[in-house]
């Protein structure tokens, strides 16, 4: 390696040695110069956090002395957790919206896996490995076109996914329950199936399943309008509701064992009675 062009490794070592020399020769002392800016920025951060906490408190609680009131930044807390009544739309904190929405893109059962694990894992690997595949020494943006395009695309797709996740509308229990009479007449449900139908409307099933066009399909959950035609049986339905992944391995459907056997039985009767429009 005596003569000829220096290798890429030599070049970057030389550059780092030069960096150290330059900093030594013309650098500034961290204290007080850089530290001043750091301190100012930290004060801004703490102020912003305190301000957010204050706005949250004074718009949510102050007007009615009610912690569940929806202020500018959301309520202090919602109703206590109740595993029995599932009439709640599951929604993560905002920084998971992009994942949340990614799942909705992969609606079909065979592809759910891509949304939950496949795409996020690949993205994470690409992120961690960045310094190992982008090995050029160049740091100026004008000479890193691929990096710039990649950055813009990443920011765009994260922003769009987060935005879509934030505005995605789920059917609210109150709206779904209004549809129950239509279900009864359209599918000619027997009276025994009515309690199950109401339960279905409020138990959060429509966050993933559609029924006669109501609800939104998520995580590859099937439309249940005609689930009864498959004659899976009451016993199977109850077992599936108690522990979906025990019956259908890998099922992302939550367990509903907490509803209790009576209510599970009502649900099962409703599902088995759902034979489609008559």
């Amino acid at each position: 390696m005596a003569a000829g062009k220096p290798s890429a490794v030599d070049e970057r070592r030389a550059q780092f040695a030069r960096y150290k020399q330059d900093v030594k020769a013309r650098g500034k002392s961290f204290y007080p110069f850089a530290m001043f800016e750091d301190t100012v920025m930290s004060l801004v951060v703490v102020t912003v956090i305190v301000a957010l906490a204050a706005v949250w408190k004074w718009t949510a609680w102050a007007p009615h002395h009610l912690g569940t009131h929806q202020g500018l930044l959301g309520p202090e807390y919602t109703a206590p957790a109740d595993p029995g009544t599932t009439n709640f739309v599951p929604r993560p904190d905002w920084y998971f919206y992009f994942l949340f929405y990614l799942l909705r893109i992969f609606k079909w059962p065979e592809t759910v896996f891509l949304g939950t694990v496949g795409v996020p894992t690949i993205a994470l690997i690409l992120l961690i490995a960045l310094p190992f595949y982008d090995v050029r020494r160049e740091r100026r943006l004008s000479r890193r076109p691929v990096a710039v395009v990649g950055l813009v695309l990443t920011i765009l797709s994260m922003a769009i996914l987060t935005w879509k996740g934030a505005t995605a509308s789920e059917a609210l229990a109150s709206e779904v329950i209004a549809d129950v009479p239509n279900w009864i007449s359209a599918e000619k449900l027997p009276p025994a199936a009515v309690p199950g139908a109401k339960l279905f409307a409020v138990a959060g099933c429509t966050a993933c399943h559609t029924y006669l066009g109501t609800g939104s399909s998520n995580l590859g959950a099937p439309d249940l309008t005609t689930i009864g035609t498959r004659n899976l049986g009451i016993a199977f339905q109850i077992r599936h509701l108690q522990c979906p992944s025990c019956v259908n391995p890998g099922s992302p459907m939550p367990k509903f064992a907490s509803l209790g056997t009576t209510r599970l039985h009502e649900l099962a009767v409703f599902l088995e009675a759902s034979k489609g429009k008559k």
């Binding site: 013309r26 650098g27 204290y31 850089a34 929604r91 993560p92 759910v112 310094p131």
Partner: protein, 262 residues
């Protein structure tokens, strides 16, 4: 050496004595001095305060979190009531909980902004690759902290978001079902789950974050921070007076002619 400096004042002695004592036994004073008076590139800018701003946000989480832990009860029966108590009755409890809740979002945003600045500067390149990897681990840990903390108020939002979140983990191949089972601590989401999330949220993950931040800052100090790449005086920039043999590979003659004053 017969000439001695003027005898230091009493005041000076009172400060020096404990410092010298500590330095002689630990070397800590020298360490802090090295940290404070080390040279950084002359052209660092405001974007480079984002890392320490992230650290500040994390420290806010630590302090407020410790206070919350003094009042919070990690059981399904009491969790909700203790959160209501903290928010509406404990003196300034709303402030502590509000800062913790909103500080979490600020922390995550700052991590992303800091990462963006590192990307723009190309600061993840040799020799700082490891610090990028540590950074991504910090990002993942930060989000895991958000996920585990979200369940703790044990209200409807918390509960159902976690039900779905845990079940999503369960869809991953191989490790998925195992991970979901581990997080749940049983067949259903209940007391075991809450205890697990609490322990992860206040011991395991923050511990990991502290350790990672320690390593991260060690590397920042050891390697130094990069100059903005567009800076005319960027530390380490290619130079004309480089031995020609090295320069050949370092610079592209065409690009060089085009207006880069040296």
């Amino acid at each position: 050496m017969s000439t001695r400096r003027r005898q230091p004042s009493r005041m000076q002695q009172a400060v020096d004595f404990p410092l010298d004592w500590l330095e002689e036994r630990s070397g800590l004073v020298g360490g802090v001095k090295y940290f404070l008076f080390r040279k950084v590139p002359a052209d660092t800018n405001w974007m480079q305060t984002l890392g320490s701003a992230t650290l500040t946000a994390f420290l806010v989480q630590t302090v407020t979190g410790v206070i919350l832990a003094m009042y919070y009860q990690p059981t399904p029966n009491d969790a909700y009531a203790s959160i209501v108590n903290i928010t509406d009755h404990v003196t300034l409890g709303w402030l502590v909980r509000g800062m913790h809740k909103w500080g979490a979002s600020v922390f995550i945003i700052l991590m992303f902004l800091h990462m963006g600045r590192v990307f723009l500067f190309g600061a993840y390149k040799y020799p700082r690759e490891l610090n990028w990897v540590l950074g991504v681990l910090l990002l993942v840990m930060g989000m895991a902290e958000g996920f585990t903390g979200y369940l703790l108020p044990w209200d409807q939002t918390a509960y159902w978001a976690s039900v779905v979140g845990i079940n999503l983990n369960g869809t991953a191949p191989f490790l998925g079902p195992w991970l979901a089972q581990f997080l749940r601590g049983g067949q259903d989401i209940g007391a075991e789950t809450l205890a697990r999330f609490y322990s992860l949220h206040m011991l395991v993950i923050p511990g990991a974050i502290f350790a990672l931040i320690g390593l991260h800052l060690y590397l920042v100090i050891r390697l130094g921070v990069t100059s903005p790449p567009w800076s005319k005086e960027a530390a380490g920039a290619d130079r004309a007076d480089e031995p020609s043999q090295l320069r050949e590979g370092l610079t592209r003659p065409a690009a060089r002619g085009a207006g880069e004053s040296e």
